[in-house]
């Protein structure tokens, strides 16, 4: 909270730290004081949130809120540069806070250990001037957008997939919001996630740095913000494109006659039904599933069945279950002929999602005995063969 009694000024240590800002007319003392009193909220300190939080702290944004509930994992370190190897196993919030404090002890880092939800988002956003969206899933993306519109906070947006990134600034007073661009999310399963598709580690560095740049510009009130513009970045081509965005007068949340005036159930909106609690057998989901223990027994017994791996060839290179045959999920419809003569099929992927789709496809094609390996090769590694690498 800003106290009005004390005149706002920079200490000598701050003047030394921010001297390269202070000598620029676009920032100067007034601008640096704006940064010092600013309150920015980073949703997630992962791939995008890492560079965002680091640059905001370095620039002297006085209060930086960070929201996350994950722990640091080895697979994060390829891109989440705020965390280091000694941080693996720590909470991302603790890890990020230590790093930001070390980078700039002049700024206050506020940690919010929570999954952002319809219950907590509005109260949380009320405490900040702007929100930087570094989320990785559609329910949270729509939640952040709607909460920003309802609380009138700019939403600095970024998104990444493989080699391509997107960035924009949504929910400013006269600009479009994310729903003006995409009124509805894709149904689950139709768009591949980064966990399936992978991501170039540097890509969130580029896109997150673009978001940090826009956040700083919004705080300073300088330049031309990325409002009404959709920036596309292709790292392979090293090319930026810009598309025009318009505020949709019929937008359900920021239009002239909004139908969404409070936060909704975003999991339901995105077609994600909560997983049945363990132990329940709603419609017997286990009927077309098998376990890694059962698979091991059958392999040891040398039963006659086909073990089908529907991951990508790059993943097959990393680790595989002996005896498995690789047909990536995307190729499966055109390669069904290769399964002829195999009635009994066990299908697996990394964690069970893609193989679930493959089993549905196989059932539709008449392979009624195809079963999904629950938990995928990760469960196999955890419970059967710990010598294989996890990825």
């Amino acid at each position: 909270m800003k106290t009005d009694e004390t005149p706002l000024a920079l200490t000598n240590a701050e003047v030394a730290r921010y001297s390269r800002h202070l000598i620029m007319p676009e920032v100067g003392m007034q601008g640096q004081l704006k940064l010092k009193t600013a309150r920015a909220l980073c949703i997630g300190v992962g791939g995008l949130g890492s560079p965002v939080a680091l640059y905001l702290a370095a620039a002297g944004v006085g209060t930086i809120g960070i929201v996350d509930f994950d722990d640091v994992d080895y697979s994060n370190l390829q891109r989440q540069i705020i965390h280091g190897t000694p941080d693996v196993g720590r909470s991302k919030l603790d890890s990020a806070k230590s790093r930001l404090n070390a980078l700039n002890p002049e700024v206050t880092v506020v940690t919010h250990n929570m999954a952002l939800s319809s219950e907590n988002a509005l109260a949380l956003f009320a405490d900040y001037d702007l929100v930087i969206d570094g989320t990785d899933n559609f329910p949270t993306r729509y939640l952040v957008n709607d909460a920003c519109v309802l609380q009138r906070k700019p939403n600095v947006y970024g998104s990444i997939f493989r080699f391509e990134g997107q960035a924009s600034v949504f929910a400013t007073s006269d600009g479009p919001c994310y729903r003006c661009l995409y009124p509805e999310p894709p149904p689950p399963g139709l768009v591949p996630s980064c966990a399936e598709g992978g991501v170039l580690g540097i890509l969130p560095g580029v896109v997150g740095t673009l978001q940090a740049t826009e956040a700083i510009k919004l705080i300073l009130g300088v330049g031309e913000p990325l409002v009404g513009r959709f920036l596309l970045f292709d790292a392979l081509k090293m090319r930026f494109r810009e598309l025009k965005l318009r505020k949709d007068p019929d937008c359900p949340v920021c239009g002239t006659q909004p139908t969404i005036t409070q936060l909704i159930d975003y999991e339901q909106f995105c077609g994600i039904t909560p997983a049945a609690p363990a132990g329940t057998t709603a419609a017997d989901p286990a009927a077309d599933e098998t376990t890694v223990e059962e698979l091991k027994t059958r392999l040891d017994r040398q039963d006659t069945f086909l073990l089908l791996d529907v991951r990508e060839p790059q993943e097959f290179e990393i680790c595989r279950i002996p005896g498995s045959v690789l047909i990536p999920l995307g190729d499966l419809p055109s390669r069904l002929a290769e399964l002829e003569g195999h009635d009994d099929l066990v299908v697996h992927c990394k964690s069970g999602v893609r193989s679930g789709k493959a089993v549905a496809l196989l059932h539709a094609a008449g392979y009624s005995r195809a079963r999904n390996l629950r938990g995928g090769i990760l469960a196999w590694i955890d419970r059967i063969d710990q010598t294989l690498p996890r990825y």
Binding site: F138, F161, Y182, V191, P192, S193, V199, R241, K244, L245
Partner: protein, 94 residues
Amino acid sequence: MAHKILIPTPLRAYTGKQEVVEADGGTVGELLTNMTTEYTDLRNHLYTEEGKLRSFVNIYVNDDDIRYLDREQTALKPGDTVSIIPSVAGGGRP
């Protein structure tokens, strides 16, 4: 009249990994129909079962969203490039 259509990474699995495909058409609708006739797997990703463009897929002619032009009736001029811009999810948890 052939026009270039830029295919985003998530949909390249359905165009034989091609980033750019060409199709004929005087309007955006004709162009997309001709394209999905050649690349049939794309149809399900662009259109609903009722044949409407899906709301998480935006179509641009050059840098303009067809929703603010004449939608699928938007006329194409020589040299116009059509882009398919789907929403993407970012980071990603399994």
